[in-house]
């Protein structure tokens, strides 16, 4: 044990260095990138997908309707600031709490479902949230909610896109830290056992239902946070803001990045967003028919999903991890010592 400790101490951890590097790159990127909307969307997707990756990877439950909780967060901000005149910051803090509370509430009956049933159940939940949003005028009705004030404290309000991007990056950092702490806690080991075998975990004393609802609520809280941010960034919330396709996109990102890894959500969100952005630019070239964009989008989603699942079923992060591990193993064998 002590040898292992000294090993860790003496060598600079490549992983820590990588994390610092990614952090610095993420903070510099908004200053040099021309399109901040794209970057902001990517960061918000990364927040949602980090939660989804945890839910799918550690508790073995799939959610095809994560957009329902993004909507819950966005609605908290939209309704809270325009109707109840909450201070913007309070509304933003309330967004993840309301989304998590909503998930805990619907999770109790919903999480009695498993596998396919849960996947369809969450999708149905999303469609019902959309329907509720367009039916009830409190939630925006047919016209949606506009006139959301900018983020700020008192009289000092935020202007421009750049501050929002940094707030979102800060939130992403918090979310990653929280996920790391959760996964390496007693509770985290419990939910990992749950993914392996529910019966075995139950007999080992893991409170099955409570753990499942908790992780569901946590991932929903992340989604709500992203939703709250999006409501400030694009101050208009309507049922059309949360299409089912976007929830599927979150699943694709989670799968591409690698389920059940802390960094999988970020890697997946960045990979898929960049690929889509590139294709978007290609398909909007003059001379191509207007249907080229949706065709490219659907084809990319489909191809990514099918190829990723069949040939890299564990996702980018674990595959690269294993590859690096093998390389190191080889170099260690090569050098006598």
């Amino acid at each position: 044990m002590s040898r292992l400790m000294s090993h860790v101490m003496s060598r600079p951890q490549p992983r820590t260095a990588l994390v610092v590097l990614v952090g610095v790159a993420a903070c510099v990127a908004p200053l040099v990138l021309p399109d901040l909307t794209f970057f902001m969307r990517m960061v918000m997707a990364a927040i949602v997908v980090t939660g989804l990756s945890m839910l799918m990877g550690y508790s073995g439950q799939a959610s095809l309707g994560q957009g329902a909780f993004v909507a819950a967060g966005a609605l908290t901000v939209a309704v809270g600031t325009t109707r109840f005149e909450l201070p913007p910051l309070v509304a933003l803090l309330a967004a993840p709490l309301v989304a998590a509370g909503f998930a805990a509430l619907v999770g109790v009956p919903l999480l009695r479902l498993h596998g396919h049933y849960l996947a369809f159940g969450t999708l149905a939940l999303l469609l019902m949230v959309q329907a509720a949003m367009s039916t009830f005028d409190v939630l925006g009705g047919a016209f949606g909610i506009s006139g959301i004030p900018p983020l700020g404290v008192g009289d000092r309000v935020v202007t421009g896109q750049l501050p929002y991007v940094y707030v979102a990056l800060g939130c992403l950092g918090l979310v990653l830290l929280l996920s790391h702490r959760t996964v390496h806690s007693r509770f985290g080991r419990g939910i990992q056992a749950l993914a392996g075998s529910q019966t075995a975990a139950e007999s080992a004393g893991v409170p099955v239902n409570r753990s499942k609802v908790t992780i569901f609520a946590l991932s929903a809280g992340y989604a709500g946070l992203a939703g709250g941010l999006s409501a400030f960034f694009t101050p208009y919330v309507s049922p059309d803001s949360f299409p089912a396709l976007e929830s599927f996109t979150y699943v694709i990102m989670a799968v591409v990045g690698g389920l059940g890894t802390i960094w999988g959500g970020v890697v997946g969100a960045v990979t898929v967003s960049v690929v889509l952005q590139v294709l978007n630019t290609v398909s909007s070239q003059p001379g191509l028919p207007p249907t080229a964009a949706p065709i490219m989008q659907y084809a990319t989603y489909g191809t990514l999903l099918v190829l990723a699942l069949l040939f890299m079923p564990r996702g980018v992060v674990p595959t690269v991890d294993a590859g690096v591990g093998r390389l190191r193993e080889r170099s260690r064998v090569g050098v006598p010592g």
Binding site: L113, S134, V251, I295, Y298, G302, L305
Partner: protein, 284 residues
């Protein structure tokens, strides 16, 4: 009264298409434990293809038959991707078929565009209990009943049908007596393609379908299949018809926009109420 009959028959026609799609889910799930998300897309493909074939290329009946057969072949293709790789867990296969349904969307926009398409069907109206009803809707019901009768005969009388049932009830024992379970899985996918295509061909003349319809069709079909616990085609038929009628009655007497919510809510309630028996089935 005549209003009620109209709603009833409209609901039954829509419910029949849910039942056909739902039985596609059931056929595949029984044998492979996979829920094929692309089931709704197969119905849309059926609608689009029949519209193109019937536009002066082929006569009625022949055009529809060719469409359904092509959908069956495409179903086998979907199966090859979804279960072709050994050891893919069913939940991963579900997400693979989600990807396939997106490829379908891309192909459908590419070949047919984004607008809803409605192929020609039976024209004219018939009078049932004093209500004017489109003849196409009656045709949907009749063909669905014939299809379910054929399906049950196929499962109980034919050699392939019996092999499918054997693979569904005990894959290990089925392998022991020389049944290729994987090939049976592909047969099931083909059958689901035929059922999905049939649903699309039948419902599209009265409810136009676009690439966007795959999700509502898949959800409706899945809801119907849930009535049958994803294993019973007959209960799926009952479930689909009930769902269609409940939706149309809500739309007619309460508010048209509540139709989807009622269907979704019914599905959720049934799934959650029966969750214990599902867990039991999965543990088996």
């Amino acid at each position: 009264m005549s209003e009620f009959v109209t709603y009833l028959i409209t609901g039954i026609a829509l419910g029949s298409s849910f039942a056909l799609i739902g039985s596609g889910f059931v056929v595949v799930h029984r044998v492979t434990r996979v829920v094929n998300f692309a089931q709704g897309s197969l119905a849309v493909l059926g609608a689009m293809l029949s519209a193109s074939l019937l536009a002066g290329r082929l006569p009625h009946v022949v055009g529809e038959a060719v469409t359904v057969l092509v959908c069956g072949a495409v179903g086998v293709l979907v199966g090859l991707i979804a279960i072709g790789k050994r050891g893919t867990p069913p939940l991963i296969s579900l997400i693979v078929t989600l990807g396939i349904s997106m490829l379908f969307s891309a192909a459908i926009i590419w070949l047919w565009g984004q607008d809803p398409v409605s192929p020609p069907g039976l024209d004219g109206f018939a009078t049932v209990f004093g209500a004017e009803v489109e003849r196409q809707r009656l045709l949907v019901l009749v063909v669905t009943l014939v299809a379910f009768a054929a399906l049950s005969l196929f499962f109980s009388r034919s050699y392939v049908g019996k092999a499918l049932t054997a693979s569904a009830s005990n894959p290990y024992a089925a392998r022991l007596v020389g049944i290729d379970v994987r090939r049976m899985g592909l047969v099931a996918f083909g059958l689901s393609g035929i059922l999905g295509g049939l649903a699309g061909v039948l419902i599209a003349p009265s409810n136009a379908l676009s690439f966007y319809s795959d999700l509502p069709m898949a959800l409706g079909g899945f809801a119907a299949a849930v009535f049958g616990g994803l294993v019973s085609p007959l209960r799926t038929l009952v479930g689909g018809l009930g769902l269609g009628v409940a939706g149309q009655l809500t739309a007619g007497y309460l508010n048209g926009s509540y139709q989807t919510e009622v269907a979704l809510l019914l599905m959720m309630v049934i799934m959650i109420a029966r969750s214990r028996s599902f867990a039991h089935e999965e543990a088996k």
